[in-house]
């Protein structure tokens, strides 16, 4: 990587946020978003089982849009609600977004403030994993990030409604291999990224080890944040120029 005085070759001066790129981002993640449907249906069904109304369950997916934290929140929906604990759990499970936002900052922060917020509103694992390597290769239109988030958001909300209003239409989707599909997608994006940055192989391996080892030791979610920070620190210290 070539580092200039105060900007790197990977940070274009002109970043944009266009509708055409939003559509491109939606098309890129369309196949992935289809595989969110079984999880959305499962969330809708599970929410009903926990006494949440179908409209409320759908609203939650529409406004919150983070699968792991929403599943966890279902355990808190009894009066009196432990609002403080709920807040901390959501923060922990959603905290990896802070890491992703920081990693995207060198592109996102070149937009005007209102567009920055709009771009980050639908940030999730999938559109981050898809878009970050693209940006690094020279993509300069953050519409791709927003569009990828939008298609995932639509799929998540619509499938939650499907499960909440329609019930368990799909049955045991794990039998079709859906239980593995998001892990496969994320693992493939990691491999794709490491192809272009061999210096990151060791930090990444260390992050995976830390995440796995600390999973039983820390509240869920924090192990991922800790592992990412360790991986990043190792990259900062050892990554060859």
């Amino acid at each position: 990587m070539v580092i200039g005085d105060n900007r790197s070759s990977t940070s274009p001066d002109d970043v944009a946020l266009t509708g055409a790129a939003v559509l491109r981002g939606m098309r890129r993640l369309l196949p992935v978003s289809l595989f969110v449907v079984p999880f959305g249906v499962a969330f809708g069904v599970s929410a009903i089982d926990h006494g949440v109304g179908p409209v409320q369950a759908t609203l939650m997916s529409l406004l919150v849009f983070t699968a792991t934290a929403q599943f966890a929140a279902l355990e808190f929906l009894n009066e009196p609600v432990a609002f403080g604990s709920l807040f901390l759990v959501v923060l922990a499970l959603s905290g990896r977004h802070v890491v992703m936002g920081a990693a995207l900052s060198r592109w996102v922060n070149r937009l005007p403030v209102a567009k920055r917020l709009a771009t980050l509103t639908l940030l999730s694992d999938a559109n981050f994993a898809d878009t970050q390597p693209l940006l690094q290769k020279g993509e300069s239109d953050l519409g791709v990030l927003l569009g990828g988030g939008a298609i995932m958001w639509i799929a998540w909300t619509a499938s939650t409604a499907l499960g909440a209003f329609g019930g368990d239409l799909l049955g045991d989707t794990d039998a079709y291999g859906f239980g593995a599909v998001m892990m496969c997608f994320f693992a493939a994006t990691v491999v794709g990224k490491l192809r272009f940055s061999s210096g990151l192989v060791l930090p990444t391996a260390a992050a995976m080890a830390v995440s796995a080892i600390t999973l039983p030791l820390m509240p869920t979610g924090w192990n991922i944040i800790l592992a990412a920070v360790i991986g990043g620190s190792l990259a900062a210290v050892f990554h060859a120029e």
Binding site: N109, L200, G231, G232
Partner: protein, 102 residues
């Protein structure tokens, strides 16, 4: 069963917390002067966070799904297509019960 007000508060807390985490990273980095070292840190961070997510999920996955991830990684190395890798992993996981039955 929750009262409407409790539910509105639950949704508000959750939406505020997730939105805060989505924008916090970029807001924090706006105050940091970029250097070669911070860029390497963020590079490492960006791949580590997804890899850590996979590792964390693998710890609770069964053998079938873990093997499916290995298939996806192998297909990714050969095809360089994330979508093909994902499909291959899923097809493998779906086929395992039939393979075992034979």
């Amino acid at each position: 069963m929750l009262s409407d007000w409790s539910f509105i508060l639950v949704i508000t807390i959750m939406a505020a917390a997730t939105f805060a985490t989505r924008v916090a990273g970029a807001v924090l980095m706006a105050r940091v002067t970029p250097t070669a070292r911070t860029e390497r840190f963020l590079d490492g961070l960006s791949v580590s966070v997804i890899a850590a997510l996979v590792a964390s999920q693998l710890m609770t996955a069964d053998v079938r799904n873990a093997a499916a991830v290995a298939v996806a990684v192998a297909v990714m190395c050969v095809s360089r297509s994330v979508v093909w890798a994902m499909f291959a992993g899923m097809m493998f996981a779906a086929a395992v019960p039939f393979i075992i039955a034979i």
